[in-house]
Structure formats: structure tokens, C-alpha cells
Symmetry: C5
Subunit: 322 residues, 5 copies
């Protein structure tokens, strides 16, 4: 579905144009065309391929989707796949894709399986003609920057969730909930790493070493995106590490709690076993058991049993078993 198609010159929009007019504007020197598609159909992609002379393999990637994030050069064009991340209503992360084709005088963005509109990117760019003047490279940067910056809230949410778990991880009785939430967080981190990780290497090539010609004017901006990605990656790495430790700690807490339960069980079992053993002995049917005949035999027995239990109870209490 076509979202937008406009021609720009010297940093300002000169016209919203029709797809048929693209080739006319492409011929004008200093002018560039910026097209935005959403969930593009095969036909739309074929038209675009013809208009801009896109490479077969790049178009095929945009068509099939489910690519990993990457930035590839095809001749003097650049093709990028960036993951968009959204929260589903069931609190899971869903991955979509933004495919960006960049040439010396055009930018084509194809957004697939994503609800995130990028209209604000266009608006912001049109408000900054001194930057937009540098052409497709700036648009490319602005699109990537917008998508990448939207990762931050998801990573922040993971951090907040993890902190909440950390606060209850040493509380007794929470281990089952903790482990479930830690596992869910781990999966979210996996999704984010999948989006961030491959982009780091890809963006690095846009400002260091041999930079594609269409991106050469904006190195510092691409380095800024790189920097954001690195920061996210660092955070994700340490989140991942913390979750691993938290899972281990949770297991330790289960073991510690169980050990404490076991001690308490052992203690009470011991106390009742003593009572039962005493009662058993005085319940034997020997003829000649003088204490059974005593007047205060029974209360004495009860006191004896209670005393034995109390001594045991105190010892267990002191040694921390109860």
C-alpha cells in the first residue's frame, strides 16, 4: 500500500508526485524522491524495482520478509532491513520489518507487518531543510534512527520488570512466579538482541572504513545510531547476565527454603516421635509395671512427656531448626 511519494530539492519538498512521475523527477539534477510503502504487494514492488532499478535479490528479501537486520550494497545502491518491535496485547514482543532502499537520488521504505507509522519522520525531516538538504543519506539515517530509538522503551520495560523480580527474589514462596517471569524476560531479551545485534555490525560499515558513496556525507549521524545500538546491546548483555544469575539465585533460594522446611519437619517429627515412644512404652501390657499403679502415675507421665518434648523443642529452637 502506498503511503507517501514526494520529490525533494535542496531540502524542501517540491511536490507530492504519482508513481508514474517518479522517473521524471529522478532525471532532474539535485532532486530526490522519497517513497513509503506499507505491506507492499508483489505488484507494487515490481513497479518500484523498475522505477529505481533495484536488484533482484534485494527485492526478493523485501518480498519474503523474515530477514535478519542487515545493510547490503548492490552496486551504488544500499539495501537495509531493520526490525521494528511492537508489543502485542498479550504482552509479547512482535517483530516487523522496515526495508529501506537507498540510491543517489531516491529513498524507498517498505514497512511490513508493523503498525508503527513513520509519518513523523517525514514531518521532522521536512522541518529541518538544512539537514534534509544532504539528501537520501539523511532520510536513511532519519528512518533508521526513528526505528532504533523506539527500541529503548522496550528495553527499559525489561529493566523495570527485572528490578521488580529482584525485589522479591529473596522473599519465600515466590520462586515459582519468579522463574516464570525470568524465563519470559529472557525471551524478550532474545527478541531485542536479535533486532539490535546484527544492526551493530551493519551500521558500523556506514561510518568506518570504506563507506558506501550514498552514505558518505552523514558519517557522524550513522555513528550516532551505532552508539545507540551499542548502548542497547550493552544493556541487553548485562540484563541477560543478570537474568542468568537471578535464575541461579532463585534455584538456590528454592534449595535453601527446602532445606529450612526439611529441618523444621525433622524437628517436629522428632518431638512427636518422642511423645509417641513414651506413650507406647507405658501402653505395654507387662504385668509388673509399678508406675502404672501409682496414684499420680498418669499426670507424672504426662508431665514427663511434655518435659521431654519441651527440652527437644528448645534445643531445636536454639540451633535454628524451628
Amino acid at each position: 500500500m502506498l503511503i507517501n511519494c514526494a520529490a525533494y530539492d535542496n531540502g524542501s519538498k517540491i511536490a507530492d508526485i504519482s508513481i508514474e512521475a517518479i522517473s521524471d523527477y529522478l532525471k532532474r539534477p539535485g532532486c530526490f524522491v522519497w517513497v513509503a510503502l506499507k505491506d507492499a504487494s508483489d505488484d507494487e514492488l515490481t513497479v518500484m524495482q523498475e522505477e529505481f532499478g533495484l536488484h533482484d535479490l534485494a527485492v526478493e528479501d523485501a518480498r519474503h520478509g523474515h530477514q535478519r537486520p542487515k545493510i547490503e550494497e548492490y552496486g551504488d545502491q544500499v539495501f537495509a532491513v531493520v526490525h521494528t518491535v511492537e508489543m502485542t496485547p498479550t504482552d509479547e514482543l512482535r517483530i516487523g520489518e522496515l526495508n529501506i532502499f537507498v540510491g543517489s537520488n531516491f529513498v524507498l521504505s517498505v514497512r511490513n507487518r508493523s503498525q508503527q507509522t513513520l509519518l513523523n519522520v517525514r514531518e521532522r525531516a521536512e522541518r529541518e531543510p538544512h539537514l534534509l538538504k544532504s539528501g537520501p543519506a539523511f532520510v536513511f539515517y532519519a528512518l533508521m534512527d526513528a526505528v532504533v530509538d523506539r527500541y529503548f522503551p522496550f528495553i527499559d520495560a525489561i529493566e523495570t520488570d527485572l528490578e521488580a523480580i529482584e525485589e522479591q527474589i529473596f522473599e519465600p514462596g515466590t520462586s515459582r512466579a519468579n522463574i516464570q517471569e525470568l524465563y519470559a524476560l529472557k525471551r524478550k531479551i532474545g527478541v531485542m538482541r536479535h533486532a539490535v545485534g546484527p544492526m551493530i555490525d551493519a551500521v558500523h560499515k556506514l561510518f568506518s572504513g570504506r563507506v558506501p558513496a550514498v552514505c558518505a556525507t552523514n558519517r557522524e549521524y550513522f555513528r550516532d545510531v551505532f552508539d545507540h545500538l551499542q548502548r542497547m546491546n550493552g544493556t541487553l548483555d548485562s540484563l541477560r547476565d543478570t537474568i542468568s544469575t537471578a535464575i541461579q539465585v532463585n534455584l538456590s533460594m528454592v534449595a535453601i527454603e527446602e532445606s529450612e522446611v526439611n529441618k523444621r519437619l525433622a524437628a517436629w517429627a522428632g518431638i512427636f516421635a518422642v511423645a509417641t515412644a513414651f506413650a507406647g512404652i507405658w501402653g505395654m501390657n507387662f504385668k509388673n509395671m509399678p508406675e502404672l499403679e501409682w496414684r499420680y502415675g498418669y499426670p507424672t507421665a504426662l508431665v514427663t512427656i511434655a518435659l521431654a518434648c519441651w527440652i527437644l523443642w528448645r534445643r531445636f529452637k536454639r540451633s535454628g531448626w524451628l
Copy 2:
């Protein structure tokens, strides 16, 4: 066993030829020969070695099999070993090999211990003369691409299986089944990594840095294969990571379940121990136990015991042990 032997010129098949005729066609400028063998015998390999001037070590590798995936240059020829993956009836992954010899005017593929036919590669290539025109390099790409793309369903199957396990990992009583299935999945991932991992480095050399001359015209296509391999590798890495965590989580769940069982055991043991202790005391044979003579002594005793048990039961219930 010979599957196919044909000569191509300018992207079109000019003839199915006999093995004896190969050397004639090799002499024709612009013409190349594409031979496909399956489970080649020693004799067949020896004939091919003579026809195409293959290197001893490469032929020996094709003969012995059980190589790791690799791409090697011998002079101006390229020799590749790619793993084929198939599912056995017992749901295990079986590895076969596709050996590919590429020269400036020939491609020889030798498929060993694999049921996967590659006829469709030849058909597809013959339907695209504009691509086949670029010669052995394109055939080489098409063969690798076909084999590598067949890895995807196996990786998808592993992902699906893992998701199924994840759904029941927090269910009580499933830990034994989970751990068995996780272990089986881990092994499958190992097999796939073995096929994918070494190929990444190997294919990388086909489009970046000093590229072998016979492959130089198709860099973007080899990069596409590389990209697929990277994607698989990323997926396999995160699957492996998830399985490790799942094994840990499963162990935690076992410990948590056991801890809960222990608590319940402790609670019931305590309740019955109280009942038994009371009964034991009133079962003692002291002469002077006034309550035994009471008219309603017995029902009172029963009620007392029941009450004591109920109080305990309620406390355990409240503290979550029952």
C-alpha cells in the same frame, strides 16, 4: 552413479553428452559442462579426475566423505563440501554430503549418502538462461543455495518443538518428558550447527576480499547464501541459548515441585503424628486415668483429636503448605 551430464553454451543446454565426450566440449570456448554424480564409485571419480584435472586431495575427500563443510581452492579450481540434511524415519537428522568441483568451464557435483535429488536445480537453472549465462559460478551458487535452503524446515521444526516444550515447562509433572525432549533438540541443533557453522566462513571468502576467479562474477549471489547461513546461525545460537535456559528452568521446576511435595508431606505427617500421639497417650495402661472412666470420655477424645488435627490443617492451609 551418473545422474546427468550436459554441455551448456550462452545459458542454454546444447546437448546431453556422454562422459567420453566431455573433453571435446571442454575445448570449445564459451562452453561449459555440468556433470552430476550420486554415490560415485572409485572408478567414476578416477575418470572425472582425469577429465577435469582435479587435485588428488580434493578427489580423496570426495571419495572418503565425512568431511566438514568447506570451500577450498586448488589452483584455479574450487572444491566445496556442503552437508545435506535429511530426517530419518526415527526422527533423527542424517547428514550427507554434496561435493562440488568448479572450474572455469565445468561443474561436477557428487552427492553422497543423501536421498535429496537436485534435478530441480538443473531445471530451474535451465529456465533462467540470463543467469545460467554467467557459467559455472551460477551453477555453483544454485547448488549451494538449494542445499542450504533445505536447512530451513529443519530449523523451523526445532523451533516449533521448542515452543511446544516451553508451553508445558511450567506444568507440574512434565519435567521428565521435557528434559528428554530438550536433550534431543540440543542434539539436533548440534547437527545443524555442524552443517551451518563452517559454511559461513567458507562462503564469506566467495564474495569478500580475494575472491576465487571462477566465482568473481556472482558475488552478490554468494552473499545471499551467506546471509541465509547467518540467519540460520543466529537462530541456532538463540535456540541453543534458550534450550540451556530451559534445562535450567526445568531443574528449578523439579526443585520447586519437590519442595512443595515436601511441604505437603510435612504437613500431613504432622497432622497424623498429633492424632497418633493423642491416641497413644490414652492407650497407656495407667490405673488412675480418670478421663477413661467418663461416660463421654471416648467421644470427647475423638472430638479433641479431630479438633487438634483440624487446627493444624487450617494453619498449614493458610501458610500455603497444603
Copy 3:
């Protein structure tokens, strides 16, 4: 908030100057300006950007904060972000930032969310004119060195805490406290690694390979900072490794203690079960139980029971269960 603003020439301060005067002094050959801000407002940063011609992206980083440590070149200027580390009253580590802009004739430091004053750096530098003579590069070094050296006490504190835990890790009954403290230490190490790790790569670029022109005269000093960072990093790595092992060992200790408790429980349960079984048998109501009629039947029974218990007790004692 402006802390300080002074002009230097040939290693000595020539004047405390006002912000408006900066541009005058910048024009003087051989002279450089050193400005220090704290929690700079947007307006202050805008003024500084104009005075020194700072790059948009660098100023934006200084404004927003929460950057990871880094050193970036913008044209012939260098922009650095260094983490400051402070202890909160609740014994947690808090991260602030020192942003340093370095040009050929100025240094601008912007300290955000940090209580640590850097006045002593200025004092020390002014006391060493032979070093300060080398200009902004030396000031840059002195600032970084001051901030980095203040990491040491925090790392030492982590080491001391860890040693304290190690001393009690094999003591029974400490596992709950140990695991909590180990987890807290692990988090602190994470914070420190976050500050140290990215700086290592960044500082490396200041003395090796293509060094930014403004830093070229002080390579050995930057290498010294690098060396400190490496040392810290090595220590943090081994602390992290030790904590992982300590967590594992702590879990083992829990398991070992539980196993010992279980053995003891088993032993006492066995002893009492024997006593109860004997008492139960002599409590049966068979008519014809001759030993019940014996004169010394009862004491014999008591002795028998005691003897059986004592034999069991001795066996358990010997096998180490008690």
C-alpha cells in the same frame, strides 16, 4: 552551573575570564581556555556550542545524559563521556557523567548528576606548569585520570566484601545471607564494568594507531589511563568469575547441609521407629504372651529397647550420619 572559566598560556593561568570573553582568548595564539560546568542548563550548553563550535550530536549527548562511556571525534574536536561513580547512602553505586569537549585551544567539562568536585584536578594541573604547557590534551588526560582513579576504592570495596563472604561461605547456616550479598556484589560489578569496559576501547584509540591530533602529544599519559582501566577490568573479570563460582559453591553447601540434615533425620527416625515398634509389640493384647507375666519383664523390655536404640545409634555415629 558555571564552576570555573580560565585562560591559560604556556602552562600558567593568565586570567579567570567571563564567558563573553572566551572568543577573545580563543583567538590569541598559544593560549587555551578551560571551562567547567556542572549540571549545565540548556542555555549554558547552547552558549558553549556557539563559543566553541561544538557539534550538534555531541551537545545533544551532553544534554540528554545517560550515555555509555565513549570517546568520539567530530572533525578536529574530541568529545568524551566518562562515568563518575558514587556511593549512595543506601550502599548502592550511582552513575553520573563527565562530558569533556576538547579542541585545539579549549577544554570544556560538563559534570552531570555527580557530587564529585574536580577542583583538585585544576589545582594540581596549575601546580605543574611543565605538564600543563602541553595544553588541552594534558587537561583532558588529567580529568579522565582523576575520574578513573576514583573507581579504585569502589573495586577495592567489592574485593573486601567478597573476601568477607568467602570466609563464611563454608560455615553452616549462612547460605541465605551469602547468596543475597553475592547477588548485590554481582550488581555492583555490573555497574563498574559498565563504566570501565567501554572506556578501554575508547582510550586505546588515544595512544595507538591514528590518534586524534589534539591528543597526539600525550600518548604515554593516555596509555597510563588505559593501563589503569585494564587493571580494573582484569580485577572485575576475576571478581565476576569468583562470584559465579561462589554462587555455585553456596548452592553446593546448601545441598551438602541438607544432605547431612537428611541423614540425621533418617537416623533419629530409625531409632525412634525401633523403640515404637518394640513397644507396639509388647502392647498387643494376645492372651498368651509369657514375657508379660515375668517379674522382670518390664525392666528387661526397657533395657532391650534401650539396647536396640543404642546399637543403632552407635552404627549411625560410626557411619557419620549422626
Copy 4:
């Protein structure tokens, strides 16, 4: 101990020569000398050092042994240490060393602490004069290849053993044996990795980048050795990974089994506790317990007890505890 000493020219042995004659043959152009020693004495090594002009440090390494595998250049000579692996009668792996000195016109091999004869290498080489013609480089290759190829059976044996363990890892009651065997396998893998790992880097230098002059003619052969080493290394890596997982899985199985035992224990303990509690109640000595007087009181009681036990037993059975 001298095993062999012969001179070769143009791929054929020209004579078995005495040690004294070596220097004569070394002077002949196109001729090279191949000497094999076993557990060489200090004197023998000193003689060889003089004959071939070996470097002090290399000779010292050969003398002291216990080196890690390596390949070093001394001027225009190459010195290699390769580990030989043998099985001791107690099923442990024993490491020996093959030291190889290679010059432009000689090869000297010194085999220490190893029973493996290398005579077959010489025989095979002499049967292939077209290869032996390329001189010391081929002999060097042939020796390394022979030693490295003998690693395969040991790695295969580890694989077979691991598969045997994997088959019984989910069987109850095998965990103690499994863990012992896994640990023993882990150690064997350690030994093999020690032999294989350092060789990979070393051999890599013999065919890639700046290759020592004496090896330059045989690059493809050294790459073949490299390839074997890589394959082994890949296998060892995945074996190591599998063993780690297997150890974890084994621990899980212990925990699962214990949990099942605990449940069964809890179930039976509950059943008997019910029976005992009932019997205890009817064993109380209250005067007024009407059911005791009933004619069929006793059988009714027995049936009641049996019924209660059976109900419990069925519930436990259903919930999978029994």
C-alpha cells in the same frame, strides 16, 4: 636411539648412511637426508645439532619434552612439536611427542615417550617418488599427517562412549555410573584438545600468509592436515558441549528421580499413618467405647482401615504419586 638414517635424491633413497656421512650428503645439491631418532639421548641430540646446525632453544625443547604442540621458525629451519596419543592399558590417554626439525636439505624426527612406530610413513613415502621428490617439505607433511590421522580413532572412541552413556542417561538408577563416565570422557577430551588445539594455529601458518620457505611447495598438503585438525576440533567442541549438557541432564534426572521417590515415600507414609492412627484410636483404654463390644467390631474395624488405605492408595495412584 637411532632408527633410521638415509639420503634421498630426486624422490628415491640413494643410500642408508651412517651419522658420520651426513655432512657429506648435505653438501650434494638436490640431495636430502632423513634421520629418525627415538627417545634420543643427550649425546645423540648434540651430534645432530652439530650436523644440521640446529638452534639451541629447539634442541633444548626436544631434550626436555613436555612441550605444547607448536611449529617455530629458526632462521630458515622449521621446528615442530606434535603430540602423539596412545591408550594405556588402564584406558587412559598418554601423550608423547614427535619433534621434527626441517631444513632445506634434511628432516630429523625425534620421537619421545611413544610406542608408535613411523616406519610406515617412510615406506609409503618411498613408494611415492613423485611426491617425495618435493623434498623435506613432503616428509614433514607425511610425518605430521601420520601422527594427526592417528587421533581419529581416539576421538571416535570418545564419541562411541558418549553415545552409550546417552542411551542410558534417562534410565533410572544409572546416574552415579553416568557421572563417573562423563567425567572420565571430559578428561579424555581435554587431552585430545590439548593435542589438536595448538596445532591448528601452528599448521595454519604453513599454508597461509608468509609461509616458511622450506614448506612453500606443499601448501595444499599442509591445508589438508589443517582441515583434519579443524574437523577434529569441531567434533571435540561439540563433544565437550554435549558432555556439559549431559552432566546437567544427569543432575536433573537425579533430582527428578528423587522427587518421584519422595512422592512415593510420602504416599506410603500417609497410608500407613492412617492405618496406625485408626489402630491407635481403637487401642485407647476408654471404658465406654461401644464398638469394642460389638460382635463384628473387629472385622468391621479391619475393613474400615483397609478401606481408608485403599481410598488413599487410589487417590495417590491417580495423581501419579504411586
Copy 5:
């Protein structure tokens, strides 16, 4: 404290000289000075700095100590810090430092916090004038070699200790001792890795790539030190790996032992519970219990109980619980 100060020419000592005379000898062509200090005071270091023109930062490192091992170039001088390792009486490893300053015509060694004398290095060097002739580079090598070679016995001791633990790791009842010793070994390995690891990179620069001028003549000797360090590092790595596995295995053994104890406990508890239940039933006070009146009722009951116990016991025995 000054240990030694001597001038050498052409490989032989020409005089023990006073500190004041150093500058005289430094002027003589072909002559070099070798000074050894121990726990040098600030004054001594200041004098040396003046005599040899040492760099501020290097002297400061030597003064403060607690550096990580490193080799740094300051102009045409080289400054090295090497860790010395010693065993304390309490069987812990203690780290000291050897600081070595190397110039074209001098070597200065400053040994701090270490009891290890290096006099034998000087003696050995003086006995080998053909090596000492190559000047400060050889002395530098000899000092490093001496310190590094003294690491071997400590690593060997760790290996021996680990083997001792491995022999008892599968013995029941040793897990507490094992875990303590494994943890202690892990710490020792940490200390050794700290000494060895950073040296590897440092020494690598002395024989490969751009080598400092003063070391250029002795590359092969520095490579020999490198080789020793690599060997140690390999050993330490595999020790570390083995210890990790051993800790895991130890935990498994605790779990297995506990599981066996639990089974045995369950078995005996079951046997006694049966006996007690039977006795309880025959201890009930029903009027009409015919078997109580039988003549041989009691012995029959005893036999019945014994039989029931024996049947249970045999079943448990067979299933391996006892």
C-alpha cells in the same frame, strides 16, 4: 636496597661499580650497566631515574607497585612489570613484582615484595659470555625467563592437588572437603592467570611485528618465554575448566548420595511402619478378636510381622533401595 651494580663489556663483567660511577660507564661505547635493587626506596628510585633518564610514569609504577604485568615502551627504553609468585606459610600464593627498565646500555631491575633472589640469573649470565655479549636484551630475557620458569612448580602443585581431589570425588562423604579444596584451587588458578595472562600479550610484542629496538636481537629467546607462558596458560585454562566440571560433578554426587539416603530412609521407614501397623492392630481393645485367644497367637503374630518385614526388605533390596 641496592643488591648489585656492575658494568659489562663484550659479555664479561668489567667491574662492580658504585652508583655514582654509573654515568661514566654509560658513556663508554659497547659497555652496559646492570643494576639490581630490592624494595627500592623513593630516594633510590629518584637517583636511578636521573642516572638512566627513566620516564616519570614508569618510575611511578615501580614506586607504587600492585601493577598488572606489562611491557611498555617509553621512547627507546622498555619498562616491564613481571609478577613473582611465592607460597606463604599458610599455603596461599603471594604476588610480588619485578620491575625491569631496559635501555640500550643498561638494565635496572627493581624487585618488590618478593623473597626470591635473582642472583643466580646474574651468575648464569656471567658464565655464558657469548650470550651476555648481546647486551641488555639478553639480561632482560634472562630475568623474565627466571621469573616465569618459577611459575611452573606452582602450576604443577595445583595439578597434583586437583588430581588428588579427582581421586576422591566419587567417594561418598567427601563432598564438603572436595568443594572447599576446589574453591581454594580455583583461587590459586586465578592468581596464576593474573600473572601469566597479561604477560602473553606483552611478550608477544617482543618478537613479532614491530619489536622495540633494544630487544630486536633476541627475538627467538623472547619467543621461548612466550612459549612457556602459552603452555602455562593452556594448562591453567584446562585446570579451570576441570575445576568447574569437578564442582558440578561434586554437586551431582551430593544429589546422588542424598537420593540414595532418601531411598534407604524410605525403605526402612516403610518396613517399620508395617511392623507398627500390625502391632497397632493387635493392640486394639476389641472384645471379639479370636486370634488373641489362640494358644500360639503371639508367636504367630511375631512371625507374621517378621515375615511381612522380610518380604518388604527383600523387595527393597532387589530394587536397589537398600
